[in-house]
């Protein structure tokens, strides 16, 4: 069995201070090992001043675990989680720009909107912009549908994900703010083998 076949989607969630240069510090952890980042999103988190990175890669769990440790080692990183697709709820958003005349004439727009959960963002004489959010397959499907009508532009956002099992980061943060960390901050992966959470 090759390690190649054990590769799967992992979504890495990083809670970090919002500091210039941290994105680079995190990105080079992947590029140094010649691992491609499939998608990367940075955004505010549920806590003020703390940023949240969502990084999607395809790797084996062993590699992801080591990467998570390396990321968590960075000074400004508070915590790293990694999850398979089963453990998370995620969305990607896509925008599609198509010629209005083509679309209006040849497509049953209403059906299209209902079937693909799409919305119209802009309608102009010359073009119309649709938007959908969903999983990759769903946003991909709409490309196929719109392609024959002269898709002018397409763009898809990075994956954003919520961890199903997570209770949020608030209580953890309180522990981090203490000089002496409480025992519960220091989870040990060997005690929590089922839980795909890494923390020091």
């Amino acid at each position: 069995m090759s390690t190649e076949s054990n590769k799967q989607d992992f979504t890495i969630t990083v809670y970090a201070e919002n500091q210039i240069g941290l994105l680079n510090r995190i990105a080079i952890i992947f590029s140094r090992r010649k691992i491609n980042i499939e998608s990367l999103n940075t955004s505010p988190s549920e806590i003020e001043h703390i940023h949240r990175f969502n990084i999607l890669i395809q790797e084996t769990e062993e590699v992801v675990r080591k990467l998570a440790k390396q990321i968590e080692k960075q000074i400004e990183v508070l915590k790293v989680y990694y999850n398979t697709n089963e453990d998370i709820i995620w969305q990607e958003m896509a925008l599609y720009k198509v010629p209005t005349d083509e679309i209006a004439e040849k497509v049953l727009v209403e059906r299209l909107l209902r079937e693909y959960g799409a919305r119209v963002v802009v309608i102009r004489k010359d073009y119309t912009v649709f938007e959908t959010t969903g999983h990759r397959e769903e946003t991909d499907k709409l490309i196929e549908v719109l392609q024959p009508y002269g898709l002018i532009e397409f763009v898809r956002s990075a994956r954003v994900a919520i961890i199903k099992a997570s209770e949020g980061f608030h209580s953890k943060l309180r522990e981090f703010e203490r000089i002496e960390p409480g025992q519960d901050v220091i989870e040990n992966e060997y005690l929590d083998k089922g839980d795909k959470v890494f923390t020091m």
Partner: protein, 584 residues
């Protein structure tokens, strides 16, 4: 708080506020005040355009901060490393922007991989010029990101005290490492209300030490107590944790044979009865072979580098592994731990020692002795007491031991002489073996030795360097000349880039490609720097010349001509298991 600044010139700068709680000083002065507050004794540096305001401020701090003018920034940072390694303190380095900063990169990489605490200050162009390709502008932060534990660009003077405090805290705490602060020229010049210096002891996103989990200590103790053939591997973590005493107590109570990585050498004395020698590619025979026979492997403050493990899938497969490390990312990185003991070994070792039974593993230890005897007969005897006309590197180190009694600090460069020095040098004391372990930086030896002497002025510092590596940083003879520091330099000259030649001999059918290196007259060179020196090629001159070098007042360069084509053995060839170690 009212500051006592030394020079009158400085006093003119100070405008006391009505409440007398702050003073107005420049970013540069704030930096120097901070360095003093952190206990900095010496700075290794080189001035230039973008760091001029700091050097201008330094002019008034001559009495409080010793600045050593180096000859090249790479030399400066290796001096900082040598200082940090011999003293256990943080090395401080100054360089200017652009080329000054890029010249630090090799030293940063070296310090990063060998966990050496450094705070490097680089000057940077004015903030408004950032990104304009200004003169001597380079993106130092992004260039140094992969090779620093942390780095930060300061564009506003008010940030300097807190950023410096953070830098020292990060550099020295947890697993130590190099930190770089890039300060734009405007921030160096900017006057601001200085409220004094507060050292940093907490960063909420940074956990220097993982919490010790007692249940793992107990599990580790169980494994150790039940083991029939336990084996300790120790690395620099013991030194970095300043846990030599705790480590010795653990080794002595457990009675377990202990072998070292080159970074861990000296954590217990070479002659300690349970010290069974060096691990790795050119390590001792027994420790390598018996790694694949032990039943419990106890790794302390070491990271299973490939030069230690050889072929990973054939490494200690039969053994249960107890791994003690302060860096959670090291556990399970290369070798899967049966019991991970996260934490500072200064904290974890005493807990473990308490739970283990006092034992003697006499028979098992005897196995190491038997292999050692075999190695002595096959390798060491010929290396230390050669019958050839020409001298060997090993005999030089051996004679040096006899004169220093193992009390000198030995700084090495990289290559054959490094392996020979690590194998044969005697260390009675901790922090006595200073070498570029992880990065293998040729040119490290001479500047690191200068720094090591600054960090341990009461010790004899001997730099053991090859003819190749010496030529990489020989400009630092100028630093020796100007600072008057006392460093003993021993060039072991085999007129080859010996280690590469050895590999070419063994693995490339003696196709000696670009390893034949010529050298200048090193003695004349030293003489031009007013450094005494001598070249010897005859065995009968060895002891007297070493004696002369060691007793010479001031620096001395001794060039010893050694056998051209000698190989370092034993050797674990690349891609082989540690138990496939070759004696010839």
């Amino acid at each position: 708080m009212k500051l006592k600044l030394m020079e009158t010139a400085q006093k003119e700068l100070i405008k006391e506020t009505p409440t007398k709680t702050t003073v107005e000083i420049s970013g540069s002065v704030a930096l120097l005040e901070g360095l003093i507050a952190e206990g900095t004794e010496v700075i290794f540096g080189y001035p230039g355009g973008a760091i001029m305001p700091i050097y201008d401020a330094l002019y008034d701090y001559k009495e409080k901060l010793q600045h050593i003018l180096v000859r090249h920034e790479q030399g400066g940072i290796h001096m900082g490393q040598g200082y940090a390694r011999s003293s256990g303190k943080v090395g401080v380095v100054f360089a200017t922007s652009g080329p000054g900063a890029t010249n630090l990169v090799t030293g940063l990489a070296d310090a990063q991989i060998d966990s050496t605490p450094l705070v490097c200050i680089t000057g940077q162009v004015f903030a408004h010029l950032l990104g304009t390709d200004a003169f001597q502008e380079t993106d130092v932060i992004n260039i140094t990101t992969p090779v620093t534990k942390w780095n930060y660009q300061v564009t506003d003077a008010t940030e300097i005290p807190s950023v410096l405090a953070k830098a020292f805290y990060i550099a020295r705490s947890g697993r130590p490492g190099p930190v770089l602060i890039d300060i734009t020229k405007n921030a160096q010049l900017q006057l601001f209300n200085y409220e004094g210096y507060t050292p940093c002891n907490h960063i909420r996103s940074y956990r220097p030490k993982p919490i010790v989990r007692k249940e793992y200590i107990a599990q580790a103790a169980d494994l150790i107590n039940q083991a029939k053939k336990p084996f300790i591997l120790f690395g620099q973590g013991v030194l970095l944790g300043k846990a030599e005493k705790e480590f010795k107590a653990f080794v002595e109570k457990s009675g377990i044979p202990a072998a070292w990585t080159i970074m861990g050498a000296g954590a217990i004395p070479t002659d300690h009865e349970l010290n069974v020698g060096m691990l790795g590619m050119h390590g001792n025979y027994g420790p390598n072979v018996l790694t694949n026979e032990c039943d419990v492997l106890i790794a302390i403050g070491m990271r299973f580098d490939d030069r230690v493990t050889g072929r990973l899938d054939k490494y200690a497969k039969q053994a249960k592994v107890v791994h003690l490390d302060i860096d959670p990312a090291e556990i399970d990185k290369n070798i899967k731990a049966t019991v991970p003991v996260w934490g500072d070994c200064k904290d974890t070792l005493p807990l473990l020692t308490e739970l283990i039974k006092e034992q003697k593993h006499t028979e098992w230890l005897e196995r190491f002795r038997a292999y050692s005897q075999e190695e002595i007969e096959a390798v060491i005897q010929n290396e230390l007491n050669p019958t050839t006309a020409e001298m060997t590197m090993g005999e030089v180190i051996n004679q040096l031991n006899a004169l220093t009694h193992g009390n000198a600090i030995i700084v090495t460069d990289v290559g054959q002489h490094q392996m020979v020095a690590c194998r044969y040098a005697k260390f009675n004391n901790t922090r006595s073996n200073i070498t570029s372990g992880g990065l293998g930086t040729m040119g490290f030896g001479l500047p690191a030795a200068i720094g090591a002497k600054f960090g341990a002025q009461d010790k004899t510092v001997v730099a053991v360097i090859g003819d190749g590596g010496f030529q990489m940083t020989l400009q630092e003879l100028g630093t020796i000349m100007q600072s008057g520091i006392d460093v003993k330099i021993m060039i072991l000259n085999n007129r080859f880039l010996g280690m590469v030649r050895q590999w070419q001999e063994l693995f490339n059918d003696k196709r000696y490609s670009s390893v034949d290196i010529t050298s200048p007259d090193f003695i004349k060179l030293a003489d031009s720097y007013y450094i005494a020196g001598k070249r010897i090629s005859d065995r009968k001159d060895l002891i007297s010349s070493l004696d002369e070098m060691l007793n010479h007042k001031g620096s001395y360069l001794l060039e010893v001509m050694v056998t051209k084509e000698n190989n370092v053995f034993p050797m674990v060839p690349q891609g082989c298991s540690v138990s496939e170690i070759r004696l010839k």
